[in-house]
């Protein structure tokens, strides 16, 4: 067991619910968000679950689990669920309506890691709205920590000093091991998150939520580096056709160079 207990940071993002089909707005500048259901990014839910399991199953000594969300003020809804599920404390960085790029998010997280004294960050491998898949990587780079991405299994070794991570890679698995401090990004198979219990949801009201604004990070350059030009819907699939005979089917497949 390491001398110091784990202080886990779990960043979570509020995104359009994954069951909802996103629609592009009329001016093609963004996704329509009015009247649309938002939920926790599913990968982040998995990240939180993993932190909770490390604590509950006593895989290692956990001193604190801190959840943080950077986004609109409504992100506090998902933070409250995190607290209800078992996070000890939380921070909301209210960005208002400002969209932040992963680099800006990573910069903020770095400061929070330092302030919280975190030694393990577990976060989703990507947010399902922008599919960037690079916040965890950039954070690890800036902290100069090792990173294990796309985790499908997390185990503690050597009395808790090292973590062995099974990574999902194309067509198989890769098993890596690293010492703390460490950044882990989660993949889908890692675990199945729990439901939010009612009693805990009520108790969570009393748990602390620090509220910060972007201006509290005034020393950071959070400007976007990319300019969004246009958002477009995928091409609609052309409808199927009915063929009258096997010969016709074969001919069609040949024409389409499918065989």
């Amino acid at each position: 067991m390491s001398s110091k207990g784990l202080r886990i940071l779990v960043p979570v993002k509020r995104v359009i619910d994954y069951q909802i089909r996103p629609r592009v707005n009329k001016t093609k500048t963004a996704i329509e968000t009015t009247g649309v259901k938002f939920s926790i990014n599913p990968f982040d839910d998995i990240a939180l679950e993993e932190a909770l399991r490390i604590k509950e199953k006593k895989k290692a000594t956990v001193d604190a689990i801190h959840a943080i969300s950077i986004g609109p003020s409504k992100s506090q809804d998902i933070l409250r669920n995190c607290l209800a599920k078992g996070a000890d404390t939380s921070t909301l960085v209210d960005a208002g309506s400002q969209e932040l790029e992963p680099l800006a998010v990573a910069k903020i997280l770095k400061q929070v890691v330092e302030k919280q004294g975190s030694n393990l960050v577990i976060l989703g491998k990507q947010a399902i709205d922008d599919d960037n898949n690079n916040t965890g990587q950039m954070l690890a780079g800036m902290l100069n920590w090792p990173q294990a991405t796309n985790a499908a299994n997390v185990e503690f070794e050597n009395g808790g000093d090292r973590i062995k991570i099974t990574r999902e890679v194309d067509g198989g698995e890769e098993i890596v091991s690293a010492p703390l401090p460490l950044v882990i990004t989660t993949d889908l198979r890692l675990n199945q998150p729990r439901y939010v219990g009612l009693q805990n949801l009520m108790k969570a009201k009393k748990k602390p939520m620090d509220k910060l604004k972007l201006k509290d990070f005034a020393d950071l350059d959070l400007e976007s580096r990319l300019k969004l030009l246009q958002v477009v819907e995928p091409e609609p699939r052309s409808p199927g056709i009915k063929v009258g005979s096997v010969d016709e089917l074969v001919q069609n497949l040949k024409d389409a160079k499918a065989i």
């Binding site: 069951q19 669920n81 199945q192 729990r194 439901y195 219990g197 009612l198 949801l201 009520m202």
Partner: protein, 531 residues
């Protein structure tokens, strides 16, 4: 709300959702069923299982001239004949695999005119006909008993018209309920009825059975929302009230007669129905309770506190969850510990924040009052759907062990659950409940508390006379003694034909018989059933 539907074979939720270029693997959100149909063995012929029911010789046996006639008006695709490879099991066997008919001919007309021609011919020639929708009925009403011709509405399945101002949908009877609902969702509306069989059952079928389902609490019965029907009478006459208005008090309200008539006096070919705007915000909470009294108390409180946003209140006993846990894979039950009763509460409304606040205040108070011992709330759409699965997969799970005897009754709320207890007691006394080889696995209870409606399901390892005799008329007598109804929503069909007297009085039964004889003097429609 997009809930996955029951009744597609095997892993019904296999369609994975693209997330950018990634895909969610099956294991994350898609429960897999171990089996879809009840028994794998072919059910007994109904004629053999119920030898006291005899084929009526007044009905003509099909001849080659009859086939020639049908071939003259129908295309190849619209006519199916039994042959060595295919005994038309799909149409002859019911969803529970409890009944099996011996029809040799299925007609699937694509136009209302053809339905009319078929019925007129059958009426003139005394050929018995079974109207069939999605064949998900639970009382053996949708399949033939002997050699009746099956008239399937499968190909009469188009939306005819939708008015986005009034919300009036006009469609063919054979439109699948889920397709109707998806069509309406595109326009911001919702079908005022929802049930576990939505992926297969027809709009016409739910009207013919006056199905209740999961949204009745909110949107009321089809007797209120159906505005007009197009019906073909046995003599071939097409009677239409499809252009009916919301308000129209000119003469008898004839369409009401066909809602719940189970194919005995006419074939429904078109439905005009008033649909409500689709709620924007849904919430689902799943609660654990100690006893049935608590279920009632929470219900009363939910009606008061949640008022206009309460859209479903379903209860389940622990046995029903046990069977479902055994039947589904990859679906987390909300609670690790077992509890005697569970309740699923759904709210739906137009303002998420408003609904959230209301629900939260309600949940807090039921927990503080000790009415509820544990509970969860869905934090996203996936969890919401998964929680619903624990209710919606019960019917399938109940029969996965071999078969199921289904009793769908209305009882005064205070007596609702006592029937399940009485049934288990009786089965135990008779000595047929227990581990294999005893035939009965367990009697379970669940249902729409909001409507005073209990589903008593007796899960069995196989269908047998012994079990049936232990349960019938026992169940009906029990219900009758409490002034309940022996069929709350599934209808009479074949199963309950002889038991209508437990709920309806002599004069009522006479009126029903008179009507049947008036509309169908030759008795060609759905014989051996209903009355």
């Amino acid at each position: 709300m997009i809930r996955s539907s029951v009744l597609r074979p095997l892993c019904r939720l296999t369609v994975s959702k693209p997330w950018g270029k990634f895909r969610i693997p099956q294991t994350v959100s898609s429960p897999c069923l171990k089996a879809t149909y009840a028994t794998k063995v072919t059910p007994k012929l109904t004629a053999e299982a119920y030898p006291s029911v005899k084929r009526d010789s007044k009905y003509k046996q099909l001849s080659s001239e009859d086939i020639t006639f049908f071939e003259s008006i129908l295309s190849q695709q619209e006519l199916l004949q039994a042959n060595d490879q295919d005994a038309l099991e799909f149409y002859n066997e019911d969803w529970m695999r409890k009944y099996r008919g011996q029809s040799r001919l299925v007609l699937r007309p694509k136009t209302v005119q053809k339905v009319s021609q078929i019925l007129k011919y059958c009426n003139d020639n005394h050929i018995a006909v079974v109207p069939q929708g999605g064949n998900t009925g639970l009382v053996g009403g949708s399949v033939p008993i002997f050699d009746e011709v099956i008239l399937s509405l499968n190909y009469l399945n188009q939306v005819r018209d939708f008015d986005p101002v009034s919300g009036i949908l006009k469609c063919d009877a054979g439109l699948i309920l889920e397709n109707a609902d998806q069509y309406l969702a595109e326009h911001g509306y919702i079908f005022p009825l929802d049930l576990g069989a939505k992926g297969s059952c027809h709009v016409g079928g739910v009207v013919a059975t006056n199905a209740g389902g999961l949204r009745l609490l909110r949107y009321g019965s089809l007797h209120g929302s159906v505005l007009g029907l197009e019906v073909v009478l046995p003599n071939g006459d097409i009677v239409s009230s499809m252009h009916a208005l919301r308000k129209d008090n000119t003469g008898y309200d004839l369409k009401q007669l066909f809602i719940g008539s189970e194919g005995t006096i006419g074939v429904i070919t078109g439905v005009s129905i008033l649909t409500p705007p689709r709620p924007k915000a849904f919430n689902v909470s799943f609660l654990a309770l100690e006893n049935f009294q608590a279920v009632q108390n929470v219900f009363v409180k939910a009606k008061k506190d949640l008022a206009e946003i309460l859209s479903a209140f379903e209860f389940m006993d622990s046995y029903s969850q046990d069977l479902t846990k055994k039947h589904v894979e990859n679906l987390n039950h909300p609670f690790e510990e077992e509890h005697p009763f569970y309740v699923l509460i759904e709210t739906s409304g137009s303002n998420k924040e408003h609904d959230d606040a209301k629900l939260e205040a309600f949940l807090e108070s039921v927990i503080e009052d000790g009415l509820v011992v544990d509970g969860v709330v869905a934090q996203d759409e996936t969890e919401l759907q998964n929680l619903w699965q624990w209710r919606e997969l019960i019917p399938e799970s109940a029969q996965a062990g071999g078969g199921v005897y289904k009793y769908d009754i209305s009882l005064p709320l205070k007596d609702l659950y006592s029937l399940v207890e009485a049934a288990n007691q009786r089965l135990e006394q008779v000595g047929i409940l227990g581990d294999a080889p005893k035939p009965v696995i367990r009697a379970i209870g669940y249902g729409h508390v909001g409507d005073g409606n209990l589903h008593l399901n007796v899960a069995v390892r196989e269908y047998s006379k012994q079990v049936e005799e232990a349960l019938e008329p026992f169940v009906y007598e029990f219900v009758s003694s409490k002034q309940g109804s022996i069929s709350a929503e599934h209808g009479l069909g074949f199963q309950k034909k002889n038991y209508i007297g437990y709920t309806k009085t002599g004069p009522e039964i006479k009126l029903i018989k008179d009507l049947k004889n008036h509309y169908d003097p030759n008795g060609i429609l759905n014989p051996y059933k209903y009355i």
